[in-house]
């Protein structure tokens, strides 16, 4: 099994005709993801050519794409100016999952989009995230497929490339993954650590979870308590940003130590206090996972 996406995922790509959208649509299709539609306003009626010569219909709007193709998931590669609208449109179109890759969406736009999605019961992952992959089943987003393998580990992370780092090392020692989720580096994200941990807890194939956090906010601290109180499966953690100075935004809009809150130290302590093994460096994650699986 896996979480959030699997063989039944029918994907519509918002922004399919852009540079990133078209490149990654082909990558997702090569991995075997069922891409059933694309949406680019003004380009409805065109076809998008897949890597094997497949013709994917492009629509002007999400409702039409969903009605004509039965899509149940969308991925957003739309530029930041239009991204929040694209997310809202997807949320209103009858699908159940919106994966927002776009970086740079104004946070107040996202506050509105998240509120709207909560009302509609739609899950948003991201924005400013690499998406997710369920090895052997489907990939939605930009994670490089060559580094994953099928197996028993769940991976959840606020970072993109740091996730690749961890996943690559797991795969190299033969530890495949059920699903790898990048939840995004923005302050307001749709799916948080606890949502993913809970899904992994209920996923019968997941035997252990890797949780990769970073400075800023308290999501990791709350997730640590959740692990202790509600999870039977072992969790291994890593926190990036031990050398980050306070008050400075470290790339991700959400990666900032505000006053004295949200430091790596505080998060590592929360992990340790709640029974999560903490890796000192990314290369230690594998060893800790092997230990907890014994």
């Amino acid at each position: 099994m896996s979480i959030f996406i699997d063989d039944d995922t029918r994907l519509v790509v918002q922004g399919i005709t852009g540079r990133d959208g078209s490149f990654h649509t082909r990558q997702m299709m090569e991995y075997g993801t069922r891409v059933v539609a694309g949406v680019t306003p003004g380009k409805g009626g065109q076809d998008f050519e897949g890597p094997g010569g497949e013709r994917i219909p492009v629509f002007n709007a999400m409702d039409e794409a969903v009605a004509k193709t039965g899509a149940n998931t969308s991925v957003v590669y739309v530029p930041p100016v239009f991204a929040a609208d694209a997310i809202l449109e997807a949320t209103d179109s009858g699908i159940s999952l919106v994966v927002a890759i776009t970086e740079g969406v104004p946070v107040l736009d996202m506050a509105r989009a998240h509120a709207f999605a909560r009302d509609k019961g739609v899950r948003i992952i991201g924005p400013n995230c690499p998406g997710l992959i369920s090895p052997g089943k489907a990939k939605v987003g930009i994670l490089p497929a060559q580094i994953v393998a099928e197996g028993p580990i769940g991976v959840v992370s606020r970072s993109g490339t740091l996730t690749y780092e961890a996943v690559f090392q797991l795969t190299n020692v033969g530890l495949g993954q059920t699903t790898c989720v990048g939840i995004g580096g923005d302050p307001l994200i749709g799916t948080n650590f606890i949502d993913c941990l809970e899904a992994f807890e209920f996923d019968s194939d997941t035997k252990a979870v890797v949780m990769i956090g970073e400075i800023g906010g308290t999501d990791e601290q709350e997730a640590a308590v959740f692990v202790k109180e509600r999870m039977s499966k072992p969790v291994v953690g890593f926190i990036a940003g031990q050398t980050a100075p306070p008050g400075r935004q470290m790339g991700h809009a959400g990666a900032i130590i505000s006053g004295s809150a949200g430091t790596a130290e505080e998060k590592i302590k929360a992990f340790e206090d709640n029974g999560i093994s903490v890796a000192q460096r990314p290369a230690d994650i594998v060893g800790l996972i092997q230990d907890v699986l014994k």
Partner: protein
Amino acid sequence: MDIHEYQAKERFALSGIPVPPGKIATTADEAEEIAVSYGGAVMVKAQVHSGGRGKAGGVKYCEDAAEARLHASNILGMDIKGLTVEKVLVTPAEEIETEAYVGVLIDRESQAATFMVSPDGGMDIEEVAASTPDRIRKLPVDPRYGLLPHQALWLANFLYEEPSLIRQASSAISQLYESFVESGASMTEINPLITTPEGYIKAIDAKMSIDGNELFRRPDVADMRDLSAEPVSERKAREAGLSYVKLDGNVGCCVNGAGLAMATMDLVKYYGGEPANFLDIGGSSNPDKVVSALEIITSDPKVRVILFNIFGGITRCDDVANGIVEATKRIDIKQPIVIRLTGTNEEIGLKILQEAGFSAFASMDDVVEKAVDLAEG
């Protein structure tokens, strides 16, 4: 993006929040002139992007214009937490009866702009939250409705008992929410919101940070950026679309992705080195970005080695490899470059590097250890 107190007060005034008059001086002469024009006692306040201005001696009460001149000459040029004071705000001194706190920030948990108010103003709100949490009232604002009138009143009720003050505060609170949204802010604060002996409220200090992602649609706010308040290297990075934070070490880091960039810095430290910077070249990088990144890193005289740690996803390894090759042709780089390159289009990228005479490491630990070695040697 942080804006100065005087700019935040301009934003507040646009929404109708009562703020005292004030003018900016860049010389002691100007400060004196402004003080003369107000007559009576004034405050001279350093305008820098830093908290703790008062403790650092950057905020002074002045009986008259002569004293304003004296204090302004001391404060201008003063160093506050590494920032040089270029401007002071000169503003009439207010008689203060009470001090309250009113702030709005983006709260991650409630996923909304959230008010925090306290009748205990004039001190750090983090301290109030830690020592007397019952003295703070919080309210997340539903973005679909905005701040409703009864909610503003509920917040104001927590600050004052006098009906006239409650009415004034309630309207200032609504105006602050409007100012927050219209400015595209991620945080704003009135601390303190005072009451005067005459029974009026006034915002005598103001703070505001703008969400950088809002700037494209708010040119008037974007124009408030103070270029002199930002290191040249950070400005260049911003203009090139790179996230860069200058640090004190000698290992120049060039990484794709914020999380990996932080983890790379941490690993430099783990192996006994000190990172010179945080630098994320971002997604969809084109070779020009890599060239800019190298220019910025090498402009830091402390840098003794340049470390690339690239894990391609949306960033393609061939783009980065082309950028490295191109940059070494365009600019004269004296420091050794060590590279780790893996992920999307890895083979093409490695081939480009090989043909240009670079070798690459396979693991993050290997390349960081090598970089720390070279920086020390």
